[in-house]
Homo-oligomer: 409 residues x 2
Amino acid sequence: MPTLREQAAAIKASAPLVAVAPSAVREAVLRDVATALRANAATILQANELDLAAYVDQGAGRDRLTLTSARIEGMAQALEEIADQPDPLGEIVDADVRPNGLSVAKMRTPLGVIGVVYENRPNVTSDVAGLCIRSGNAAFLRGSSSAQRSNEAIVALWGEALERHGLPAAAVTLVADTSHEAVVTFMQLTDTLDCLIPRGGPSLIAAMREHARVPYVLDGDGNCHVYVDAAADVAMAEAIVVNAKTSRPGVCNAAETLLVHASVAPAFLPRLAAAMPQVALRGDEATCALVTGATAASEADYAQEFLDLILAVKVVESIDEAMAHVARYGTGHSEAIITADPEAAERWVQRVDAAAVVVNASTRFIDGGELGLGGEVGISTQKLHARGPMGLKALTSLKWVVRGEGQIR
Amino acid sequence: MPTLREQAAAIKASAPLVAVAPSAVREAVLRDVATALRANAATILQANELDLAAYVDQGAGRDRLTLTSARIEGMAQALEEIADQPDPLGEIVDADVRPNGLSVAKMRTPLGVIGVVYENRPNVTSDVAGLCIRSGNAAFLRGSSSAQRSNEAIVALWGEALERHGLPAAAVTLVADTSHEAVVTFMQLTDTLDCLIPRGGPSLIAAMREHARVPYVLDGDGNCHVYVDAAADVAMAEAIVVNAKTSRPGVCNAAETLLVHASVAPAFLPRLAAAMPQVALRGDEATCALVTGATAASEADYAQEFLDLILAVKVVESIDEAMAHVARYGTGHSEAIITADPEAAERWVQRVDAAAVVVNASTRFIDGGELGLGGEVGISTQKLHARGPMGLKALTSLKWVVRGEGQIR
């Protein structure tokens, strides 16, 4: 087994070669891997069966770990969608000529080596590699030890495709040592990692804050709110809240708390409760008075990401009270307002501090694919570098290009 | 003395108010402080005299700490230049309409609370506050304890100006507790700081990597190179190298290593040595053979930021050898090529991985003011978030704005 340091040296050496590979080459690698995934589905499924046989948990983790022919086809299609995206590299922004004649501009470049720490979904391995290679970066992947055989089978196809196109196989590297000590060392590879992205729960985020010594972008929790304004169309509000809460409750862009203006609460809340009887409502006094079966919400309920068929509810007197609640309990992910009042919508857009502010649509759209990015390497809940779904552009940087004719200062 | 936690709570509460203040108000605060600096120069100079009286070191640190009427006028003018910059907030980028009719775009917003840790130049206090307030952010400033009285006098003027324009004085806060323990706590204010920028030497950078628990942007060393290509105009090359090395040797964008193509070295190096006799040249064998008085360079000389009238020199056989040297020893700051060959220039621009690549001009231009930013809060040598001089735009983020008519997923 190669050591982490050996792998780090190899991927670092590969990154400049990926960075200067023409767009057509980087695109062709992705299409090649898509073809290889389909051709080698049986091999991947065999590796996945070994991972599953060794996996004890029978809960949601097992489902995430499980690959099927359909899921492998989904991975191949995801790579084709990323390949279809325009090349992010080489874009020139903020071009200017200074009074002394210097031409100055910024040029979009790859970051270099992107490290990603993630849990046991093997499709992430392929998606992240695709986004990194398409954007001229090398992908250093630290998956879950429980998915290691599946991940190895997928990464092997990447290595072959890279080499067929004259690039080093090391440009997509899976960390071989999946021990806990090695993940701490991984987060401290200051000479190798230009950016580290953790995709996981609160314990991974806490470990990142504690141990990381390289620049990172946090993919944090989504305690997402939907605010139904006084001027909301209640039928639209019902459809959006039902969708945001129930279409996939276990994901970070699902709604966790509903805020309802007092003037529409009597008409809206009983109707909503009837429309999604499978959802447990935990509300304040006003909610419990309006909805039979709602139970009293605690402070902790408003702060929590349930990831389940549970919705916290609060009746508010104004949009400002709703925004204050979001500022207090939100995690800076996705925050929606339902309103027919353009002034209220604009106030929400301007003042709510989150990765995504949404007007009259479901929070479930805050996803790289839905927003047109062709995929995402994570959803940033911090403000530095990138917010929200991180696609190709979020894996780039801008370097200054200054051209003169001998100017001195 | 307020505690760091008390100050953190106050500045955090102030940030949303600065974020929504109209551009004209933020601009007016800067102009108001410029006026106040001029009107209160005597008070600031008195405070500075107390700092200087307590300061033991007689070297460069004393010069950096010293304020004069001219330096205070410079601070006022810097604020006026920042005020003249266009408002960075509200800009809409990457607008798109999705097939389902959703309108998606990104909107430029402030980061929130910017923390800056810096050394004993009191002008930084005013410059950084100006950049932060102009871009809708609050500035949490941790200056050097040796400059605390000067900084307090400057920050008091900021508080008064902010309040005159209806904004909280806490939006520009100077850390009152200048103990070493407090600076570690400062770097860990995860609930308060949206971005932390260290401006200092290697020990500060090391402390940041070790202790920071908030997103940060490193303002690292500048081991800057000038490469004189085979196709260089030697007169231009001489003027640029002399300027890059000698105009201000103690700053991070000064040249530290000269790389010269073997075909021009015999004509160029003796002429350069004669043009700047005050500079000690430390070269490889080829250099020492060409230049009387040059001494042998060690490996450490190529890795070092001299910040002095010393220049490491190496003769190379090709542009690729020059680029390999830069990749090995450079710190990702500013790297210049002098050449009349457009292909060589383009190869340098595309392949050198640094915050700034420079063609036929001095590295000394890599500076916020010179590049048209109106100032800089630091010069990033990392790739995440911002590279090179960080002006107003580097103090912003982009949030997603999604508008629909009831779309669900």
